[in-house]
């Protein structure tokens, strides 16, 4: 035998034994942590007014369908804050920070609406788990949506839909909705310190990038966990189940879902409006990357012209951001939001006729770029309307529908409007989003489906002194809240400005091409 073997083999053998001893010692000295999360019994005074489920098990987050993977509450001190994630993922943080997801649980419009609802019922705060499950999941999962606050707050709970609320998801039910997501949030913690995490990121991937999670959060069905909303007796006076938000179903049944275009493709594209134009041109290639801006339709929350009112509306500034940087990011996302809105709709003239004393025409409101109805979401506050002005040859206005009173913030009550109404038990419209007393939902006009159009017919009387050719000016407006809501709930006289989605002008009599 070579002397090298004789010399080294014992060394290798002894070292191996020593190594095994060290490893066993390490396991004994540093035992595994206890099961993560907090037991229901350890949250003092936690209220369960909705009783157990069909199997007799407690439903601690009901009426939200939110759940944790291990069935335990989240420890607020352990929920990873987005500001922590920003240490290594600053680009993603700065994309997400101005988004509505980031302020979902803190923006004043939402907060005041929840408070108004909570005051309507003795179990109002617990009923508000329905709202908070999607808007502030950290609050709900930590047990803070409770009349007695016995759990300490944390940064992560003020961050709305933060990084971990998606990146720990293990299940979503887009049909059930109402926050029907299961989050492995208790397991979603880094077990290594930052320096060692950088050397061995595998555990970080376990916590926040499991294969199943990555696959789930890339699907439109994941978004449906919250973007499907129904009312039932747990949180309203509706008998049975009434759909309030059907955004996921609108997409699921659309050309977009059929062609593999997901929510993420448009709303997480680096330039969503450009991506929508790309899709409209027939190019279905996926975006080059997915940004975390979640650009949507709420232009108000990005209107930097509102100055300090905007900070008020957004509920302050997120942890990890300076005022100046916050404003800069908001302004940038505002441009993307407005561009996306402008890419969504179109107007066309349909079936025009100039008859003695009458002008008859149709205006087609077209959904050209949205993969869901236009408007979508809970549209008792958000609404869309059509403004039509007809002028004669002299430019004199002979008809006007859908005017907006910018002083009082009111839309022409006779306008053609796309909105859903919350109706109370007495059959009266509820103008300020009081879910807990809503007994029924009705639609003034349902949203325009993806790649569809809704033709609005006008029959205008023309006086004998008005001569043609006539001009029809059409504008499609969108507004994110009613003025009643601003007065009643926000307690502010701030006029909620509308946004012009698109505008068009048509001549009457129409050209042959336009006369269809």
């Amino acid at each position: 035998m070579k002397y090298q073997v004789r010399d080294h083999a014992p060394l290798l053998g002894v070292s191996s034994v020593l190594c095994i001893a060290l490893l066993i010692g390490a396991r004994l000295l540093w035992p595994p942590p206890p099961e993560p999360g907090v037991d229901l019994a350890d949250i003092p005074y936690y209220q369960l007014p909705f009783g157990p489920d069909d199997a007799g098990l407690p439903r601690p987050f009901w009426p939200s369908r939110l759940q944790t993977e291990n069935g335990r509450f989240a420890d607020p001190a352990k929920i990873q804050s987005a500001a922590d994630c920003a240490i290594c993922h600053p680009r993603e943080f700065e994309e997400w920070a101005p988004s509505l997801h980031a302020i979902a649980g803190r923006d004043t419009v939402y907060e005041r609406a929840v408070e108004a609802n909570e005051d309507l019922h003795k179990d109002g705060i617990e009923k508000a788990r329905f709202c908070e499950g999607c808007h502030a999941p950290g609050e709900v999962l930590a047990g803070r949506t409770n009349r007695f606050k016995s759990v300490m707050p944390s940064d992560a709970e003020t961050e709305g839909i933060s990084c971990v609320m998606c990146h720990t998801a293990t299940h979503a039910d887009p049909v059930e909705g109402n926050g029907a997501l299961t989050l492995a949030i208790n397991e979603g913690t880094d077990r290594l310190s930052n320096p060692l995490l950088l050397a061995a990121p595998r555990d970080h991937a376990r916590a926040f990038g499991a294969k199943e999670t990555n696959a789930l959060i890339a699907k439109g069905d994941f978004c449906g966990g919250c973007h499907t909303e129904t009312y039932d007796t747990s949180m309203s006076k509706v008998e049975g189940r009434q759909h309030v938000q059907t955004t996921h179903a609108e997409w699921r049944d659309s050309w977009y879902a059929g062609n593999g275009v997901t929510c993420q493709d448009c709303h997480m594209a680096p330039d969503p409006a450009a991506y929508v134009r790309q899709i409209r041109s027939g190019d279905l290639a996926k975006p080059e990357r997915y940004a975390h801006n979640f650009v949507g339709a709420n232009y108000l929350m990005f209107d930097t012209g509102l100055g300090s009112n905007l900070t008020f509306l957004r509920g302050g500034i997120l942890p990890g951001l300076s005022d100046a940087r916050n404003t800069e990011l908001i302004a940038r996302q505002g441009e993307a939001t407005r561009a996306l809105l402008r890419s969504a709709a179109g107007l066309a003239l349909r079936g025009s006729e100039v008859a003695p004393g009458r002008l008859r025409f149709g205006i087609a409101v077209q959904n050209l770029g949205a993969g869901h109805n236009l408007p979508t979401g809970v549209i008792d506050q958000k609404y869309m309307w059509l403004e039509v002005v007809v002028r004669d040859a002299t430019g004199a206005e002979i008809y006007h529908s859908g005017a907006f009173d910018a002083t009082r913030g009111e839309t022409d009550p006779d306008a053609v409007i796309w909105r859903e109404d919350f109706i109370d038990a007495d059959g009266e419209r509820i103008p300020d989003h009081l879910t807990f007393i809503t007994a029924a939902i009705s639609h003034v006009r349902t949203g325009v489906p993806p790649k569809g159009e809704d033709v609005v017919r006008y029959d205008v009387a023309v006086t004998s002194d008005a001569t043609g050719p006539f001009r029809v000016e059409a504008r499609l407006w969108y507004r994110v809240a009613t003025q009643e809501f601003a007065y009643n709930t926000l307690k502010t006289d701030l006029v909620i400005p509308p946004f012009e989605l698109t505008a068009a002008e048509f001549a009457l009599p129409a050209t042959d091409e336009a006369r269809q």
């Binding site: 035998m1 070579k2 002397y3 090298q4 073997v5 010399d7 080294h8 083999a9 060394l11 290798l12 002894v14 070292s15 191996s16 020593l18 190594c19 095994i20 060290l22 490893l23 390490a26 396991r27 000295l29 540093w30 035992p31 595994p32 942590p33 240490i87 290594c88 077990r191 290594l192 310190s193 930052n194 320096p195 060692l196 950088l198 050397a199 061995a200 990121p201 595998r202 555990d203 991937a205 376990r206 990038g209």
Partner: protein, 159 residues
């Protein structure tokens, strides 16, 4: 034929053998067992990194002389090939290890940079399989005859 230093001693090659065995053991632990308990895993990982860096320093100071001596004495072609293969594996192991701790080093000096996760996956894969291959190659290197048999004996063995 025997070839060995004039007097037995615990030299750098012995230290490297000890370190290699411990690195292999801790590496296997990190690969297969650490997920269940990162409390202990973190300590093991820190030890693996520190020992790996120490191994790199000692290895770098020792390997040059060893190769020079080996080239003089190792006359057998198969042994030479195996040795170069082993050296390649060691270089691969050290390089992938250093690349994996590069983000950590930068973090400790205040610079935040890290590999794409997929890149770390490739580095880990190469590091792990390189270590297993190096283990086998090391045993072969230690055990394999590196000198040519005398012609007469070769002829005798061939007949």
């Amino acid at each position: 034929m025997d070839y060995r230093p004039s007097r037995p001693r615990i030299g750098r090659s012995s230290l490297l053998s000890i370190a290699f065995a411990i690195l292999l053991g801790t590496g296997l632990y990190l690969e297969f067992l650490a997920d269940a308990n990162w409390n202990a895993g973190e300590v093991v990982l820190a030890g693996h990194v520190v020992l790996g860096l120490g191994f790199t320093v000692v290895f770098a100071s020792w390997i040059g002389g060893h190769v020079r001596r080996g080239l003089r004495t190792a006359s057998r072609q198969a042994f030479r090939r195996l040795s170069w293969f082993l050296l390649t594996l060691y270089v691969l192991l050290v390089a992938t290890g250093l690349l994996m701790v590069l983000p950590t080093t930068l973090y400790l000096v205040g610079v935040l940079w890290f590999w794409r996760f997929e890149t770390t996956g490739v580095l880990t894969f190469v590091h792990f399989w390189g270590a297993l291959a190096a283990t086998m190659a090391l045993f072969a290197h230690l055990a394999m005859r590196h000198w040519r048999l005398p012609m007469a004996r070769r002829g005798h063995e061939a007949s």
